[in-house]
Amino acid sequence: MPNAPLPDLLIAGAGIVGTACALAAAEAGLRVVVVEPGAIGAGATAAGMGHLVALEDDPAEFALSALSLRMWNRHADLPEAEFSRCGTLWIAADEAELAAVAPKREAYLARGIAAELIDAPTLARLEPNLRGGLAGALRVPDDAIVYAPRVARVLLDRARALGARVVQGRRVVAMDAGGVRLDDGSRLAAARTLLACGVDTRTLVPELPLRPRKGHLLITERAPGFVRHQLIELGYLASAHGNSDSSVAFNVQPRPTGQVLIGSSRQYGVEDAAVEPAMLRRMLARARTYLPTIGELTALRAWTGFRPATTDGLPLIGPWPPVPGLWLATGHEGLGITTALATARLVVDAMTGATAPIDPTPYWPARVLSPVGDEGRDPRAAPIPAPERGHTTDAIAVRETRTPITPPSPASLVIHLDGVPVPCTPGTTLAAAIATGTRRSRTGTMRAPTCGMGVCGECRATVDGIAHVLTCQVRVAPGMRVTSEREPAHA
């Protein structure tokens, strides 16, 4: 081997945190190597909502998110980011919750973040699909959303352009003071190693007080304008940082695609990534208590992810004293995308001896090494029993319908397509009766039935007010009202 210069920094993990650190380090002139076993930004980065939000319940968390939000502005015009400054509406369900809004607003203003009180009538005007009777909201207009997986890729590409090297498809399996060992047995030397691999950091530093917090998300078909802000119930924080093993909160986001992204759930003590219908049901039912018509939307896909949660709720950013040369950037829980850029700033400033824009000490991993007696221990660190899974008591409701296999009557009937009467024969499918396209795709091209068997979805139309009905799968009935659909283009 020729004498390649020793990298200054090896980063394990190419999620939003690892890639942000890679770019910041490369910009500071460090020689960087990034090791990622999977796709870029495909872990917790892809499982989150991409909500850039200032959370004010903890001063240190607030400082980090406020700094990071300012830094995100740099990427606001990046097409890949799909940046949308939709703002956040913290919803107060009743007068008691509304009482908490004024001090919350003061906290934002004190940090230089705009925040305004929204009364009930204004809230109803801003978000007409919210139920009536809500007390009001706090609007944080500068909060935004991004599509984080692609941002991670762009950040990494930029770091590459500055000389960073990326080793993809390999996993770091061990570290020492001089570098790391990969899963193919090879060794990579580096002056420092930064672990930015979320929950997986546990496998490399088992003594870290890090536990996976499982979350479910569900995305709908396009329904532009259904909600216009990120909507979160004020009780979210209590639930987000609460002690219970599982909880759900109303947390709904308008994606720039026009889709609605529905959260949120949190569970501890579950390591299985499977989507749990019971949890999903709780989460969706919670959302429906705020958005009564959300049940009419069509669910496209649900998934889960694991956020790395620490016992004190703050991320672990900085050197890990037990192993010289080892640094951590993990434990961001649900705020990893918001705080990734500030995290990178703190890491690189500390490595280069620059003065950090905010006090970095609250996030230092060394804090978890301090001896704490049982009395002083955060109760959240206690072992958590596994939550109940599955259902045993649900009623079994299977209808036993027997349809005789007999020919339909030959009488003619009439349906309406976009208001125009269409005579048709009983027994035919709706698609056949219409015999034309009823859908325009998101780039505006006309589509018509293609697979004929309910797979491709090109035959979709709105039937009797129900959106996205597969017309090749239903038979005509008298008086059916069919409306063409147009897939909204991206905002």
């Binding site: 989507v275 049940g295 496209l300 293609t450 068997m453 979805g457 799968q473």
Partner: protein, 425 residues
């Protein structure tokens, strides 16, 4: 018999599912059959709009009227919920617990992109057949059928019988391959009789070997197709173009149920043993989901699965010979009607590959033919390919056939569902 207290739950009422129901009942069990469609028969025995089924289906369909059989039409499995299936029907969502399950989820058509394939009037070959059986008006229309496989003949026959003018059947396979396949049919007398009868009915229709679609032409719908063979290209004015390249096993539900999937071939199949058992205890699979092979293969596998699910391996083994014969036929089919290795060269850079999210070929594959992305997950996150309505069932299978590995993960719900129906069980 206490082990028969719970019915054998059978997902799919095509030939495999119906055979499984009959076998399970013959072996003393009860059967509960559900299907996403509102009529039984699957794709091959799909009910026609006049309410009739193809004649060969009659005996198999009769089992649904048996007292030991419960038949749930228009019931679609959308997720798993512990040891139950979540099933959606027009009445809402319900939980269907199962102890013994037979997956007879069938196959869908392989639809490959080509310039103009998203134009209205361009369908699958089986797709047009299904639409016509549903009453799609085709009488007097000019139809071109193209692609590859015996399904082309069956589709052409259906649209001809409905009054359409089939201008041509363009078959990718060359004449030598077709001749070898035809000669091999002597081993399968029933297949040979079917093929001869089909050709006789289509004798007025040009059957063009070694011919493929270059592009479909039209503004808001197809108006013409350009076909090519070794001598050059020609344009045919038409009202409908039906293009199919064979079938793709439906393995999504099996994947969601953690059954082992065999990914050795171009399209994944549900892995089963000689008794149609999957890797998950009490879950069996039969029919096209375990590999493409036609009605006889599905009937034999369904029969085995049904008997085994009912605890009757002796009877199950009696169907082994029929299954072995059907498997040989399936291999011969796959050899003759394969996707041409240079197919990707027919796709234009701006041809849409993912029809749900309108993702173009250029976004996915570079000019030199290599994929833009390192892997399927990166491709999906970056381009949204496969993230739309069909969840990659169409473009994922097409990409696999074109040598671009698709995402193999399955996320619930298996089909888009109303959120309200997910909340209110």
């Amino acid at each position: 018999m206490p082990e028969h207290a719970h019915p054998v739950v059978i997902v799919g009422a095509g030939p495999a599912g119906l055979a499984a129901a009959r076998a399970a009942i013959e072996s003393g069990a009860r059967a509960l059959v559900l299907d996403a469609h509102d009529a039984p028969g699957g794709q091959v025995w799909r009910r026609r709009h006049d309410g009739t089924h193809p004649a060969p289906a009659a005996q198999a369909l009769a089992i649904l009227a048996h007292p030991a059989c419960t038949w749930l039409p228009a019931h679609r499995v959308v997720a798993r919920d512990g040891d139950a299936l979540l099933v959606q029907s027009p009445q809402g969502t319900s939980r269907l617990p199962f102890q013994r399950l037979v997956l007879a989820t069938g196959a869908r058509e392989l639809l490959l992109p080509f310039p103009g394939w998203t134009l209205p009037g361009v369908t699958g070959a089986g797709g047009l057949q299904a639409l016509v059986k549903g009453g799609w008006p085709i009488a007097g229309r000019r139809v071109v059928v193209a692609g590859s496989g015996p399904l082309l003949l069956a589709a052409a026959d259906t649209v001809r019988a409905a009054g359409a003018r089939v201008l041509a059947i363009a078959e990718e396979a060359d004449a030598a391959g077709l001749a070898r396949f035809a000669l091999s049919l002597w081993r399968y007398p029933a297949k040979a009789r079917q093929a001869i009868a089909l050709r006789a009915r289509l004798r007025a229709t040009p059957y063009l070997p070694d011919t493929h679609v270059v592009r479909a032409i039209g503004d808001e719908r197809v108006e013409a197709v350009v076909l090519a063979d070794r001598h050059g290209e020609r344009e045919l004015a038409c009202d409908a173009l039906a293009v199919g390249h064979g079938l793709v096993p439906n393995v999504e539900l099996a994947t969601l149920l953690d059954c082992a999937i065999d990914r050795g071939a171009m399209h994944p199949v549900i892995a089963v043993d000689a008794l149609q058992r999957t890797s998950v205890p009490a879950i069996l699979a039969a029919g096209e989901g375990t590999g493409i092979g036609g009605v006889d293969r599905s009937l034999a596998e369904g029969c085995i699965a049904g008997h085994v699910a009912a605890g009757d391996e002796v009877r199950a083994r009696r169907a082994h010979a029929a299954r072995a014969q059907a498997h040989r036929f399936a291999r011969s089919l796959a050899r003759t009607f394969a996707v041409p290795p240079d197919y990707a060269q027919r796709i234009a850079p701006d041809t849409l590959v993912c029809r749900c999210e309108d993702v173009s070929w250029r976004t996915l594959v570079q000019a030199d033919g290599t994929p833009v992305h390192a892997d399927a997950r990166a491709r999906k996150l970056d381009t949204r390919v496969g993230m739309g309505w069909c969840q990659g069932r169409i473009c994922g299978a097409a990409l696999a056939a074109l040598g671009v590995a698709p995402d193999v993960g399955v996320r619930p719900p298996l089909y888009p569902v109303r959120i309200g129906s997910m909340i209110d069980l």
